[in-house]
């Protein structure tokens, strides 16, 4: 007779003789028991291992650094999870790396929590984890802690990922929206709206096709080069949800300045322009996942532009505007025909319109 010990958990009953091979995620994978361990070994540890994770604790321990620590957390929910140019894995690592890097810190460590829908194919999970590992390697961050939970079918849309990243800000750097000052130059590192349109096309709901790719990418190395050339940079931010317009409004409000843009200087790909014209969208409100807003004193703007354009992710960098004193807290757009308009925050989701 074989006696098999049954370990009770608070997450529901587990099968006393669990099947060792599954093609899809089942509830048992989130139980914390043997199945979870097998999933971790088979998928996560296979691609994301390092000495810190290798210690095998519920925590990751890292040496401290002098100075201020920058921390950023983000939860990633996207449909579809695989899109032209990337996937939710690349997005989750890049997004958090970028949010830490815009403080001036070198992102060093990252954590990842996965909430997976029952029935999710393990092969897809593997693809996403490989993508995360590649992006982590590219950006130079180490994953030092992770968690996996499984939700019943229908309670989660395939896969949600939360990532938290951190690094230390060198003492001499003071970067933040509040530092934008009158006379500063506003630079964007490349074309706007690529990610927004690529994902919208991939969703298929609006029936249009394009070869646009998402611009999703970790920007920390480009930021390092930039800060060497322009160490007195005042503001760095990536214009994600809400687009350039919303992000610049946040900065104008933080710094109580006005930001004035030149519309004919703003780089937008023709495909993005075409999709926006057709749907009635404004590219300045579309999400970007691999672009950087740089607000820098005029004296360092030339150096900043050079540094960006030298980097593969910044070839289309452009000077798009200036910071002024008034009208405070506002973003203004100078149109190509010489008029102007207020550029407000995104009120709510952009929808295709007929008017």
């Amino acid at each position: 007779m074989i006696i098999v010990p049954i370990t009770p958990t608070f997450e529901g009953p587990i099968c006393p003789l669990p099947m060792t091979h599954h093609d899809v995620i089942v509830m048992g994978h989130g139980s914390g028991g043997r199945m979870t361990q097998e999933l971790v070994d088979r998928v996560f540890k296979k691609y994301l291992s390092n000495p810190i994770l290798g210690e095998g604790n519920d925590f990751g321990q890292v040496p401290s650094h002098p100075g201020r620590m920058a921390v950023s957390t983000d939860s990633h929910i996207i449909t579809p999870i695989f899109f032209p140019g990337g996937d939710i894995g690349k997005l989750s690592i890049s997004g958090t790396v970028n949010d830490v890097a815009v403080s001036g810190a070198i992102p060093l460590y990252i954590t990842a929590g996965f909430i997976i829908e029952e029935g999710f194919p393990i092969s897809d999970l593997e693809k996403i984890v490989i993508s995360m590992a590649e992006t982590a390697r590219e950006s130079g961050v180490q994953l030092i802690s992770g968690d996996t939970k499984v939700a019943e079918k229908g309670k989660v849309d395939k896969l949600f990922i939360n990532t938290t990243g951190f690094g230390w800000i060198p003492d001499k750097l003071f970067i933040g929206g509040q530092y934008a000052s009158p006379g500063d130059i506003v630079i964007i590192s490349g074309t706007l709206g690529d990610h927004g349109i690529a994902v919208l096309a991939a969703r298929g709901e609006l029936g249009f096709e394009t070869e646009m790719l998402s611009d999703v990418a970790p920007l920390n190395h480009m930021i390092s080069s930039l800060l060497q050339a322009a160490p007195h940079t005042h503001v760095l931010r990536d214009p994600t949800r809400g687009g350039l317009a919303t992000t610049l409004n946040e900065i104008a409000l933080q710094s109580h300045t006005a930001i004035v843009l030149q519309e004919d200087q703003i780089p937008v790909r023709r495909e993005v322009r075409a999709a926006c014209d057709m749907l009635g969208f404004d590219p300045l409100y579309l999400a970007n996942e691999g672009k950087l807003i740089v607000i820098v004193p005029e004296s360092e703007s030339f150096g900043a532009m050079e540094a960006l354009r030298r980097h593969p992710l910044g070839r289309m960098a452009a000077r798009i505007g200036k910071v002024q004193e008034t009208p405070k807290d506002r973003v203004l757009m100078q149109t190509p025909i010489g008029g102007s308009r207020i550029l407000d925050v995104l009120a709510c989701e952009m929808l295709p319109r007929i008017c």
Binding site: P327, I337, G338, I354
Partner: protein, 362 residues
């Protein structure tokens, strides 16, 4: 596409604006009656570049804004049915009904889907035979043929689960209502280029003559708008009242006759309520009785609903060019794009929304 891109050329636009500046000698009130033109004027900042003698007012040219409250409430009632997939253009999603909007119906679990084209709604009906698919068919003459195509497509595919809730309106009766009002200040008109792409402009000379109001059929690029204004101002300065075509690359006098035949086959004129304005006789279209099976109002037997409009909202006066949004006590305070009291604040082409977004200064 290069030649068409020239209509965005800043140099040409500035040159024509200079001419308008030199030409104008009087104060003139010019109305455009197309939400798309309101948007374009604001978007390019054109209103700032015109001489102060030219006052541009924005008429009831946004079908979203003028869809009657009763119909919005009917849409909400139908959308709340458990077995209905309610499809709509994005513009209508946040238009306030008496107590809520389609967005909140969706948030409460209603199956509300935004579509780019009415034909996408027909696809949904094909793919979901067990559901009733309803399309909110709003629009002026520009959109009427597209809306009708959905009925034609559904009919060709013998679909029994598709219907449209119509709020189709016509521009000429609205022009009569504005120009014929005792409070009218409008002296010149920019006609809506894409309405005319479908209908031509053969209906307009009699209106121009009756009210002695010159008109220019106008497009949407900066050069089109400035040219339309130029032609209208030139006529005003000369005292003529003809209908000129400033958009000949798209619009012809007779228009799209095949589309007009279709409209005539499927639709008949009817009286329509215009939100904020009231009833304008024969200003709308409804499906002819032989196509009643596609009429959602008949299919769903929605009872007459007690409507409740905001007492503060002055959208009606704004739509007739009698007041400007900043003359409304709620503008920018109680009434904003995130909390609209009336339809003109919701649609991005609604006058109030356009002023809020583009005109809002400290």
């Amino acid at each position: 596409m290069e030649v068409f891109d020239q209509f965005r050329d800043a140099g040409r636009v500035k040159s024509l604006l200079e001419k308008i500046n030199k030409m104008v000698t009087h104060h003139w009130v010019i109305m455009e009656i197309c939400g798309g033109q309101t948007h374009a004027i604001m978007h390019y900042g054109l209103h700032e570049l015109l001489p102060p003698e030219i006052e541009l007012v924005h008429g009831p040219g946004c079908p979203v804004c003028v869809t009657p409250l009763e119909l919005v409430d009917k849409a909400l009632a139908i959308a709340s049915h458990p077995n209905v997939i309610f499809t709509t253009f994005g513009d209508m999603l946040r238009v306030p009904g008496s107590s809520m909007d389609l967005f909140s119906v969706k948030a409460a679990g209603g199956n509300v889907k935004v579509v780019y084209s009415p034909l996408d709604a027909v696809k949904l009906a094909q793919e979901n035979p067990e559901k009733q698919v309803v399309f909110f068919a709003i629009g002026f003459e520009t959109t009427a043929p597209a809306n009708l195509m959905s009925v034609i497509a559904a009919s060709a595919q013998k679909l029994k689960n598709f219907s449209i809730l119509t709020s189709l309106v016509r521009v000429p009766p609205a022009m009569h209502a504005v120009l014929g009002s005792s409070q009218n200040r409008v002296q010149g008109f920019l006609a809506a280029g894409h309405v005319n792409a479908v209908m031509g402009y053969w209906e307009y000379p009699s209106i121009a003559e009756k009210y002695h109001v010159p008109m220019a059929v106008t497009g949407f690029e900066p050069l089109d708008l400035v040219q339309g204004i130029y032609m209208t101002v030139e006529q005003l300065e000369n005292g003529t009242c003809e209908v000129q075509n400033a958009y000949p690359r798209v619009v012809s006098f007779e228009g799209n006759t095949a589309a007009q035949k279709l409209l005539d086959q499927y639709l008949e004129p009817c009286d329509r309520q215009w939100r904020g304005i009231g009833m304008i006789p024969m200003s709308g279209w409804k499906l002819r009785s032989e196509y009643a099976e596609f009429d959602a109002e008949k299919r769903f037997h929605v009872e007459a609903i007690q409507t409740k409009e905001s007492k503060i909202c002055i959208a009606g006066q704004i739509l007739q060019g009698l007041k400007k949004p900043f003359e409304c006590s709620a503008f920018g305070t109680l009434c904003t794009p995130t909390n609209p009291l009336g339809a003109t604040m919701v649609s991005s082409e609604g006058t109030c929304s356009a002023y809020f977004r583009y005109y809002k200064r400290g």
